[in-house]
Symmetry: C2
Subunit: 467 residues, 2 copies
């Protein structure tokens, strides 16, 4: 009974718990050995001057948890733990995520950002006040395709602004484009091969590779993905960004859209995925109808996202599935919870339903239009004809080609030396097949404050002066 | 020029847009044919009595979008669309999700629900007021593993309540357990085979199948997953619910925990996944240390979720990865956005950081403890010894076995006739290997209002009276 002689901490945990901990520790350390019989409850109670009930409580917990074996009319025996653990060594600390190498850059002209000023906390708080009291009725995981009220709002928005007539029943809401593409890759059939634009959005390759889906790269011409190359690739699903090709900024003409859809119509299992990521921001010309809206083909999947229209922090994207893929979704993912939280879904539904999304888009479009014009003016003033701008009609980035420049790499490096971080077109290219313009950088201007335009352009002018 | 003779709608869209639409429609319908030359801007302007600029605007948009070819000094020509579209037929309406067959049941005793009264809208609104003004600084997609402030809060919580010492750097936050298991299935190596508890959570099979990962079912004994069967299965990864086996309610003793971890330690590529889904609600005995905390083995992955501790609507789960899997995560998913929205993450971080999660859990535990006791009393009063209760120490469901009952199917059917929906243990069984108690149903009581307990038990007593 020596090992069990100890003093209780007064005013600490309940006595039975202190005793439980002590005995468990003795067993774990090996001081109490397998097969050993513990003192009777009465004896230990008397020894430690505690009640029999307290000892009973501790013994029973130890038995519950597999430390002790309770044998009727014999008492409690230490059980053999299959593997006595050495004194636990602390886990090696996990390495923190390495900081980005460009963290030092003063100005960030990467794509994929939005202007912090477009976020209106008061408006969202107002929506939260409206929505929160109702959330007690929505504590379950909800509809696998997303809340109906949100899908109704989104389809109404698509009808009014993208001439896309979809039913809420065809729509699937999910936590971002990456998540939805991961789902889609499982719906388009085993062994389906995806065609990706080259140059294009690098993350698509990662998502497809992570989904175990093969892909081929297909080069572009001035109208977007080349149908001849697509055909030659042997791919089944063509993933395109027709409104504003990422990153080249090409708006795919109607003819090319129809040509691609015709390719998909030729064979069973073929699809077009239309990623309409930043269609909300169009500054010149009028909106081209979406491929989905234009053709009403059952071969086109439409994917939209709140990442640009609202902010990447939102984590809400949506896709419109043709009947065959919708059936596959319901069969394979019909028991899943929608990955967007119910609060977020109801906030967004109220945002859209109250007409605030349209107002937000108008406000943001005006802001970005003005910013784009100022940036174009400033670049024109600094570089004149030496810098050709393209792909600037839609979206939140543009391309700039420096005539007789020192090469894209040198342009990026010199800009970085001056504190300006930007990407070059080759950063988006996957293969040599991508015929890229030389001396061309990609400028994301969404998060560039108006006051920063002049200094950024000055720095770029200094960086590229000797070119 | 006849086809282009039409009257403008006064006060409608801008004239250039009306003209654009009209010409596009004529081309789409085939009335204007490929190769046809459009009238000069001046001529059409004079004909329609509009300005040359208006015609110019319409022609240029049509050229931009691939309807027209602009030939310098020759004019505008209709381009060949690769495939003339017939008048678009409306898409067939997608079938709405079929309503659940049990929708008519008055009382829902399924598992996976929480009590609506545990949701405190005022508290969440207060948090929203605190967090929302800061969200403008968090519009980007954020850390792939989840916001650091949230991971710090969650690891602190695990340290204090689950004796689990993890670093925030090891933690990955994601939109629900299904999502995280989908990720994990890609991290544990190609060809890894998962062992699932049988009976167990049916959704796990679906998620693994959707991830292209093979699984084997492993039966249970009174301590949980059987190590001999696990060994015989040839599986690499054992997925277990040791705190409160789903659905059998078994708390895995320490010895079995260590035995399973020892199995994993034997070979490279083996892992234990510890799903701790409802550990927060323990009513009898004291908490058994988590396998991860107990062994500090680098072979254990811990998965926790907010679905039970808060609500399924939250869509936030988290896992603690050992170093090898963390490295794999960063390599394969390091460019992904975290699937939980930034707003949700910051709300949860404030909720945990302000000590509100602990308070919420205490409140909910008290509520569920009282409900469980009332339910047990009522069942005892109605059935006496005929109904044996088990698996009720932890969590939000219990098992009830009716001595000499008419069989599980009949018990469920008769309960449904009386308006009570509940599951039987075989609903969770995957194979004949699962040795299941007969006449046993699973009763989820989390969303059962106190006032409903008496009527529900009365209905069950009536349903099972003739047994």
């Amino acid at each position: 009974m020596d090992t069990l002689t100890f003093t209780f901490e007064p005013g600490g945990r309940p006595l039975y718990e202190q005793l439980y901990r002590r005995i468990a520790a003795e067993i774990a350390s090996g001081r109490l050995k397998a097969g050993e019989r513990l003192p009777s409850k009465r004896a230990l109670g008397a020894h430690l001057q505690i009640s029999v009930n307290t000892v009973d409580g501790a013994y029973r917990m130890l038995a519950d948890e597999g430390y002790l074996d309770s044998r009727p009319r014999s008492g409690f025996f230490v059980l053999a733990l299959p593997r006595t653990l050495a004194a636990p060594t602390p886990r090696p600390a996990a390495a923190a995520t390495p900081p980005s190498p460009d963290a030092a850059c003063r100005y960030d002209l990467r794509t994929g950002l939005v202007d912090p000023d477009t976020f209106q906390p008061d408006l969202w708080l107002k929506l939260a006040r409206k929505v929160m009291p109702r959330m007690g009725a929505h504590l379950a995981a909800g509809d696998p395709q997303g809340e109906r009220v949100l899908r109704e709002g989104l389809t109404r928005h698509l009808r009014e602004f993208r001439a896309l007539d979809a039913s809420p029943d065809q729509m699937v809401v999910g936590a971002g484009m990456e998540y939805l593409l991961g789902l889609l890759a499982k719906l388009t059939g085993d062994g389906a091969v995806y065609a990706l634009e080259d140059p294009g959005y690098p993350k698509l390759r990662t998502v497809l590779a992570n989904s175990g889906v093969a892909h081929r790269f297909v080069g572009l011409d001035e109208a977007g993905m080349r149908p001849d190359r697509l055909r030659a690739s042997g791919a089944d699903v063509a993933y395109v960004t027709p409104t504003h090709q990422y990153p080249m900024g090409i708006t795919m003409p109607v003819g090319r859209r129809l040509e691609l859809v015709a390719w998909a119509e030729e064979r069973r299992g073929r699809y077009i995925v239309e990623d309409d990521y930043d269609s909300e921001f169009r500054y010149a010309g009028r909106p081209v109808p979406s491929m989905t809206g234009l053709t009403r083909s059952e071969k086109v999947v439409y994917i939209g996202t709140m990442s640009r229209s609202l902010a990447p922090s939102t984590r809400c994207a949506y896709m419109v599935l043709p009947p065959a893929l919708l059936a596959a979704f319901r069969q394979r993912f019909g028991t899943y919870a929608c990955t967007v939280s119910m609060l977020e879904q109801h906030l967004l539904a109220a945002f859209i339903g109250d007409g605030l999304l349209v107002r937000h888009l108008n406000r943001a479009r005006t802001l970005y239009r003005r910013r784009r014009e100022r940036l174009l003016d400033a670049l024109g003033g600094a570089f004149g004809d030496r810098l050709r701008i393209h792909g600037a009609n839609v979206g939140l980035h543009l391309l700039a080609t420096l005539a007789g420049g020192p090469g894209e790499k040198a342009m990026k490096a010199r800009a970085a030396e001056k504190g300006v971080r930007l990407a070059g077109v080759t950063d988006f290219a996957a293969s040599d097949a991508a015929r890229l313009p030389r001396n061309t950088v990609v400028i994301g201007y969404a998060a560039l404050h108006d006051a920063e335009i002049a200094p950024v352009v000055r720095r770029l002018a200094a960086a590229w002066a000797t070119a």
